[in-house]
Symmetry: none
Subunit: 249 residues, 2 copies
């Protein structure tokens, strides 16, 4: 990895999360802590980041620190993302839907990972594009402006053509009886196709979405190989799902 490349990655991380730890960066990029420190030093004198003890901060950090907004339930989603990332290995073909949880997954992908990501979600694609080592395949078709995802028969046909190793579904509603449900007919069609085209289906859901339903049926629990939430696997909330035969993490 080139020096400039590494610094660009660091900068991207800083701008994304508003802060970076030198300790975590050095394990991510697999260089010594000194190198990271020197990089942060350089970026600091260039005015790109603010260097602090233990890492660096984004310039806009001061502005966005007090309002604790950002993405809704960000920490929960980070936990989910980390669990999901553990399932992705080099060389895999990964199919993903859209949604903020998927977005967080995209942001947290380790830079050394070499895999192919396939999606029709514009925000997700934008994140994948920033990654140095992953190949990005975009599913094309008409764009649904509110869900920012490509929808339509062409998109579904394309998804049917791929055979992915794993599929990550951001979930709007999941319930032990009704399985996964959603509220956008076209998005549901896509998710169905994605499930059919993947060897393994992983469902990402924050606990809040559990035991809720939406009007349109996506699939039953039997189609789901793994359910990832921010909870501990033995949490009582998850029992109905394990009882139904779904693995949880």
């Amino acid at each position: 990895m080139l020096k400039k490349e590494r610094q660009a990655y660091i900068l991207h991380q800083v701008n994304l999360h508003n802060k970076v730890l030198s300790s975590s960066l050095c394990t991510e990029i697999n260089v010594s802590e000194d190198t990271i420190r020197r990089d942060l030093q350089e970026l600091a004198v260039e005015g790109k980041v603010i260097k602090v003890h233990g890492g660096a901060l984004s310039h806009s950090f001061n502005d966005v620190y007090y309002p604790t907004n950002g993405v809704y339930s960000l920490n929960e989603k980070k936990v989910i993302a980390q669990k999901a990332i553990a399932l992705i290995h080099n060389g895999m073909f990964v199919l993903t839907s859209g949604g903020t949880t998927i977005l967080e997954l995209a942001r947290c992908l380790p830079p050394q990972l070499k895999a192919t990501f396939i999606s029709g979600s514009i925000p997700a694609i934008l994140e994948y594009m920033h990654h140095p080592n992953i190949e990005v395949i975009l599913i094309g078709d008409k764009i649904s402006k509110n869900s920012k995802i490509t929808v339509g028969s062409e998109a579904i046909a394309k998804i049917r053509q791929v055979k992915a190793d794993i599929c990550f579904l951001g979930t709007n509603a999941i319930d032990a009886v009704h399985g996964i449900t959603d509220n956008d007919w076209e998005v549901v069609q896509l998710k169905k196709a994605m499930i059919e085209s993947s060897k393994k289906v992983v469902c990402l859901a924050i606990a809040e979405k559990m035991n809720t339903t939406q009007p349109i049926h996506v699939c039953g629990l039997d189609k789901i190989d793994l359910l990832i939430t921010e909870l501990q696997p033995d949490d009582a909330l998850l029992k109905p799902y394990t009882d139904a035969g779904v693995r949880v993490a």
Copy 2:
């Protein structure tokens, strides 16, 4: 292998992967590392690549990580965008390439306009999505990270399926003798397909790009219905093109 040939190959690799290592290039092309270094040096002073320790980076590398602030020659591009917009009417199917000029066109679209825009350029698509009344069709395929556009046979096949009313091409180089040329093989393939799929081909170019050439041929002037620049139609610079039968605006 000729020197020019080699440099074109290097440039292509840089544009394709955003970076090249001198070490890998010299084994690929089978020349000494010095030669590669000299090539990269030359390409760097020509502004084609950014030379760094260990290899070189694409110029658009930075854009991938830091959002492009000041667009180059913004005012000229605004003028061009306005002229182009005058050609778009309600109900039209519009095919566009990528590039900052196209982006400016996207930003300046009047909000009442109802049309369908088709593109594989991610930045362009993002702009179109913000528009209240236009339909957006995204051409899918593998994403080229440096040009932020989808490239590949699937994308070309999709473009061939459409029959657009008008096609706007952002232009890297145009010349009265060689016509339109570019430096990325895959992007050229797309542009060719777009030209074939459109009733009318409009070429957008800032004057600076005129009378310059790039290694790869896109099309001759005979394919172009209209050439839009920021210049007055009777500007002397445009004479070679009007003489060749191209309408200018």
